[in-house]
């Protein structure tokens, strides 16, 4: 007879999710379950293809941009440089906001951020960070959100990118404001990384908690630094395969299991097998750690400096611990702010044109993009009127679904072994899933 313990609702997940721990005569198995389907692809079928960038923001803000890239391919147009820079600046800003939010959630994870600070303190508790740091993080997140609104029209669900470019020129006050925001975000990202290195990553109790957890050994997938190819690497960091983004859905498939609504991305050449069938080479992970584990020098100096500092502390990659996943976020946080600083300059965002009007339309198109949450990709098939007939979407949730399932199972096994109570097990699982 099977008994099931349900841990729900999980914190910080994009879709409602839970962990089911099933015990029967054969032992115990934990399942990470997304319990409500979003069916984002199915929402798009039957819609005019130009509407997809607005619909798929339901997955994450970066899907607006990868969708616009897919439309560029479909209509065979190359956006003019100011539009490319505006889109790229928006992606960098999304990186900053996404990563700083995850760090905020981590830092506030053991406390209620709405507690009356200064009035109610837990007896005997010492704060890991000065209390004002969380407020400063929220402030800079708000600044990034303002930059997103300027560049994307709206923050969480941007609307500005269209086939062939962007929908409008920026206005005069925007240039100075964007530049100011980028500068403040850069300054803050560097000081935050320093603070985290000294307190969180350098604090032995906290660091042990993060660096003692070893991640499952599965391949990773990320774009090359120039974005021209997608690279699949083994857990040892060695390149397994390199291919063009346009071929992504020839290489990567999406399959479902009966116990979760979230599809799994897998490597087609390895064949589809259940995530618990003992074939981790069929799956891969995406995201900040996958990108840092590519081992390539970063294009921006301060982020590269932080990457080198990480290498000095943790050794040469690839990194396989939970702590390294959080350090990857701080490296990319700095890189994102440097990118914002470089792109949010008047000369980058101005020019005679911001869009190219398409004159032809293909029937299928694919594009991929490194989003804050990891590699994402879209494939569209349209009819002769440009109505979507078929669509495939790789999002961060599908890309990391296998990893998250393996992480949950591993977390339950390790915490169960030390007799942790159910609430603490749940909190530990949430902390482990957060950077993925």
């Amino acid at each position: 007879m099977m008994t099931t313990t349900i841990l729900e609702p999980l914190r910080w997940t994009a879709s409602p999710a839970r962990v089911a721990v099933c015990t029967n005569g054969n032992g115990t198995g934990a399942y990470y379950q997304v319990i409500a389907p979003r069916n984002a692809e199915r929402l798009c079928v039957g819609r005019p293809v130009e509407e997809v960038p607005r619909i798929l923001t339901i997955l994450s803000p970066a899907h607006h941009l990868v969708s616009a890239l897919t439309l560029d391919r479909l209509f065979n147009v190359e956006p003019p440089p100011p539009a490319v820079h505006m889109r790229e600046a928006l992606v960098r800003t999304q990186f900053f906001k996404h990563h700083i939010r995850i760090l905020y959630l981590l830092l506030s994870s053991s406390e209620n951020p709405f507690r009356e600070t200064g009035r109610v303190r837990r007896p005997g508790r010492t704060e890991l960070l000065p209390l004002h740091v969380l407020e400063e993080i929220k402030h800079h997140e708000a600044l990034a959100q303002e930059a997103e609104t300027i560049l994307g029209g709206r923050a969480d669900h941007p609307v500005s990118a269209i086939a062939g470019g962007v929908g409008r020129f920026l206005k005069e006050p925007h240039y100075d404001r964007l530049s100011e925001i980028a500068g403040r975000c850069l300054e803050f990202s560097v000081s935050t990384a320093k603070l985290l290195n000294e307190t969180l990553f350098g604090n032995s109790k906290q660091a042990n908690r993060l660096f003692d957890f070893t991640l499952p050994s599965i391949p990773s997938m990320a774009s090359s630094s120039d974005g021209g190819t997608v690279v699949l690497r083994g857990p040892d960091g060695k390149e397994i395969e390199r291919f063009a983004p346009a071929d992504l859905f020839d290489k990567v498939g999406l399959e479902r299991e009966p116990w979760t609504y979230q599809p799994f991305a897998y490597v087609k050449s390895k064949g589809w097998r259940s995530v618990f069938a003992g074939a981790p080479e069929s799956f891969f992970s995406v995201g900040p750690l996958a990108r840092i584990n590519a081992g390539e020098a970063l294009p921006t100096p301060l982020a590269e400096e932080e990457r080198q500092r990480t290498a000095a502390d943790l050794g040469a990659g690839p990194y396989t611990t939970l702590g390294a996943a959080y350090r990857a976020l701080t490296i990319e946080l700095i890189g994102a702010a440097e990118g914002m600083t470089d792109l949010c300059r008047r000369e980058q965002l101005t020019g005679p044109s911001i869009r190219v009007i398409p004159t032809e339309m293909g029937r299928t198109a694919t594009a991929a993009l490194e989003a804050p949450e990891g590699l994402i990709a879209h494939w569209y098939e349209v009819d002769d009127r440009g109505i979507v007939q078929n669509i495939q979407v790789l999002d961060g949730a599908a890309g990391n679904n296998a990893l998250r399932c393996l992480l949950v199972r591993q977390a339950v096994e390790t915490t169960g072994a030390v007799g942790m109570n159910v609430k603490d097990v749940k909190r530990r699982i949430e902390e482990i899933l957060l950077p993925f």
Partner: protein
């Protein structure tokens, strides 16, 4: 004034509404003197069992559409405990983007079509049609938008929790709120039940683009032309639902050249947004005979998926899933 209790929950949708609450320009933590956050699983963790120890929730902000049993169960549990329930965002208010699945009811969204569940935990069932919160329980107030603008979120939170005592008043939001709502907030009393934290008129009322009463001779798809800046998009042949949609966003989409898609739901005096749009477009056609009008109408694709992009379950008269506002 005793502290009020707050719960925040998102069903099927995305985290944008909750992020919006969290991001109310970092003022959300200043709610602490007035509010005890008793349940906010996305941010604070906690479990459903925690609710059993809560006698009463003064305000529940519920985001996301109801697409499955888990969503409906969450709505029922929170409604039972909550004095005031706000449908936050287009998904909770009208069904939102997830509600588009109702146009393709054969799409069950089932996990695996032929899965063997032996030894695996079952999933909560999917329910069709997808509904907004009004499809399952009584809703006291609505904050529309996808996601709702932060000034309106902040206005709603202050109106329902702070009893007129909050330090930062909502003058920045009140200009877009109906008089009755703004007056109630200023007086520190709860607004009338059923109030919508948005404007009453259409988006056109606050859109910066000028209307010239010009008629158009053909529809254009957004990728086909570079619209004149400053001119009404609809009058340039681009579909824009500002005329049928409740204002409150300040014309955020039209400001960047993107037509309104109705995420605030229908305006106060509109019976059905799709019917209103058909009427508005018809009157903007430059057609003097039925054949020309028919030709123009034939150019327009996917009217249901466009006019009810965010509102199909709750505001499409022909396909309404449940309780009305």
């Amino acid at each position: 004034m005793p502290k009020r209790t707050l719960a925040v929950y998102t069903a099927t949708g995305c985290p944008a509404c909750e992020n919006g609450i969290l991001d109310t320009h970092y003022q959300v933590s200043s709610l602490t003197p007035w509010v005890d956050v008793v349940f906010w699983p996305h941010l604070l963790g906690g479990e459903w069992e925690d609710l059993e120890g809560v006698d009463r929730i003064d305000l529940c902000i519920f985001a996301g559409a109801l697409a499955g049993e888990a969503d409906r169960e969450a709505a029922a549990r929170l409604r039972e405990k909550s004095e005031v329930m706000i449908a936050c965002g287009a998904c909770a208010a009208f069904g939102g983007l997830p509600g588009l699945i109702n146009l393709r009811p054969e799409s069950t969204g089932k996990a695996a079509e032929t899965g063997d569940l032996e030894g695996c935990p079952p999933l909560p069932a999917v329910t069709r049609p997808v509904a907004g919160l009004p499809g399952a329980c009584t809703v006291d107030y609505v904050i529309p938008g996808c996601p709702p603008p932060q000034n309106l979120l902040w206005a709603a939170i202050q109106a329902t929790l702070c009893g007129g005592e909050a330090p930062a008043r909502i003058s920045f939001a009140a200009s877009r709120l109906p008089d009755s709502l703004a007056s109630a907030i200023a007086a520190g009393v709860l607004p009338n039940k059923g109030s919508v934290f948005g404007g009453e008129k259409g988006v056109c009322a606050s859109c910066s683009r000028r209307k010239e009463e010009k008629k158009f001779t053909s529809f254009h798809r957004p990728y086909e032309l570079n619209p004149d800046s400053g001119r009404c998009l609809l009058e340039q042949g681009l579909i824009c639902q500002g005329i049928a949609t409740r204002e409150g966003c300040g014309g955020a989409c039209t400001a960047v050249g993107a037509g309104c898609r109705g995420c605030f739901g229908k305006a106060e005096n509109v019976f059905d947004a799709g019917a209103k749009m058909v009427s508005a477009i018809s009157s903007t056609f430059d057609a003097t005979d039925s054949r020309t009008a028919e030709g123009l109408a034939g150019q327009f694709l996917d009217p249901a998926g466009t006019f009810y992009r965010y509102t199909l379950p709750e505001q499409c008269v022909l396909m309404s899933a449940g309780t009305k506002e």
